[in-house]
Symmetry: C2
Subunit: 183 residues, 2 copies
């Protein structure tokens, strides 16, 4: 991992991207002892139903919390994929939810039916955000597994911890079966 | 209001500053049609129990979501007040919760027992964050009253809307009695 790692989580409103961003930032800061910043931006596109959350994780203090070129893009909608893929670094990690993204504008992508995996693992499509965290952490190791589990438990609604930890585990499991995309 | 308005909400963990920041940003963007960004930063100070949330509201797109010199500082703890008052603009607005802040390092401050007002209005000290939003919006008009009420209703836990709208109204009411601080 380079000194500062920039993650963009993008999709539609209601997909829980704000919560996913907070969990990732808290895993890094509270449980792994790093610096982290989470930014939620709202603009005209928010009124169209789009949503994005950005997380920066760093060993150093974070001076500039804006993600410009991201190291990782998670795209949970076609619109988000099309819009943000151009801001991904050349060697950045692209993860797409093939439940919603049918045209992947890069051969270098990790493709997984994240929402379908969520539905199969927990019966709740709404846990796709947590499945996605499992995939991200498994592929990148930007935070420890222990840290992300603890942060998920802290932040999800009381009574849903077990369900969400199951979703997280399903994400880790699904990522194991992935081949690294062609360079 | 200048083109870009920068708000820093600072205090201790558990005072609901993240939620307050999200509500303020969503009031501006979703209900008042502006651009907004909310940033939550986590560093070594987070592990000491400090917490802060920053919100930028702008008519234009926000390129740089970091608050450096804030237009407004809400301080819900002595530590937060001491630390961030130096980053307030010279003509910035300082609002302190005198329930927790006993030494105010500026004559130019709006002083209110925000946590005590919360307790009196709703019986719940935890609604101090929402009382604070009422005070901020009443004093600055950075978002409309209709927008902040709608955003509070959206974001607070189901079943607590009425309680929190009461806290918000108490904040508006308390701010009315304030004199503008000496220049």
């Amino acid at each position: 991992m380079s000194e500062q790692y920039e993650v963009r989580l993008a999709g539609a409103g209601g997909q829980g991207l704000l919560l996913a961003g907070l969990i990732l930032a808290e895993a890094a800061a509270i449980y792994d002892g790093k610096n982290a910043a989470q930014t939620q931006s709202y603009g005209p596109e928010a009124r169209g139903g789009a949503s994005r959350s950005e997380v920066i994780i760093s060993d150093e203090e974070i001076d500039y919390p804006k993600v410009t070129e991201s190291d990782l893009l998670l795209a949970l909608s076609q619109e988000a994929c099309d819009k943000y893929v151009r801001d991904l670094k050349r060697d950045g990690v692209l993860i797409v939810d093939t439940t919603h993204v049918h045209h992947v504008p890069s051969v270098r992508a990790y493709k997984l039916p994240i929402t379908r995996i969520a539905e199969e693992a927990t019966g709740r499509r709404i846990t796709a955000n947590i499945v996605a965290l499992g995939v991200i952490v498994s592929l990148t190791k930007i935070v420890s597994r222990r840290a992300i589990e603890a942060a998920v438990s802290d932040r999800v609604p009381k009574g849903t911890q077990e369900l969400n930890l199951k979703a997280l585990a399903a994400g880790f499991e699904a990522a194991k079966g992935l081949m690294e995309p062609a360079k």
